[in-house]
Amino acid sequence: MKNRLKVLRAERDWSQQDLADRLEVSRQSVNAIETGRYDPSLPLAFKIADVFETQIEDIFLRD
């Protein structure tokens, strides 16, 4: 699944570690999601949407 995590992070000038701290996950997890190697669960996807104050569908896109 494609996603806009890198763009959203860049807009806020957050590093992967900054986002990881906000999500309470490892930087490795953020990297895996961002590069499309891992699709997050629905609860984590909602948490990501909450952190960016947007909707899930604005972050994750269909292939």
Binding site: A20, V25, R27, S29, A32, I33, Y38
Partner: protein, 192 residues
């Protein structure tokens, strides 16, 4: 459980030191320089190197969650218990004429710590709050299980037709651990 990522520590040093110690102890034992109980005691003591290893992991650049920390502590306790239990059981079994029920009780000495290791693995999967790390562990565990099944079936048929010697069934645990380490290494190489 929160995830910690910091920038110091050299866990590889302690792992290397542990294997070096284990190698020296095994060499001393095989050469007859030390007796069986001493070998087991030294091996159990060398497992104390997991304490600085755990600290180094916390301070390393590797991802190391609180659940991993607890898992490693539990595995350390179980490993020391296993080596000591196995040593005591072997020494008593070889040197004394024991009743069957006593032998059964002795076999529990190495068995129970290995059950503890399995319990520690199950608890880790339950306690790891980082779903990606949990996912990676589960995939590595499945790969290790596939390795054990493949090895068991392969060896079992070779043994049935008399091509290879018999091996004890408890080898499934070390074989599983080798499979797990191999799978984790593969994940690291692939950047997962």
């Amino acid at each position: 459980m929160t995830t910690q990522t910091q920038r110091k520590g050299r866990p590889g040093l302690w792992v290397g030191l542990f294997f070096a110690c284990a190698g020296v102890i095994i060499a001393l034992r095989l050469s007859g320089a030390i007796k069986e109980p001493v070998g087991f005691i030294l091996l159990a003591l060398s497992m104390g190197l997991m304490i600085p290893f755990n600290k180094a992991m916390k301070n390393s650049s590797c991802t190391y969650s609180a659940a991993m920390d607890i898992y490693n502590r539990r595995m350390m306790v179980c490993s020391i218990g296993y080596v000591l239990g196995l040593g005591i059981a072997i020494v008593l079994w070889r040197n004394y004429e024991l009743a069957d029920w006593t032998v059964f009780a002795l076999t529990l000495l190495p068995i129970l710590p290995t059950f503890g290791m399995i319990w520690a693995m199950a608890r880790y999967l339950k306690e790891e709050s980082d779903e990606y790390l949990r996912h990676k562990s589960m995939m590595a565990s499945l790969a290790a299980l596939a390795f054990v099944l493949a090895l068991g079936i392969f060896w079992g048929f070779l043994e049935m037709f008399g091509l290879v010697p018999h091996i004890w069934a408890w080898w499934v645990l070390p074989a599983w651990a080798i499979g797990l380490a191999g799978a984790q290494l593969w994940q690291k190489v692939r950047g997962a």
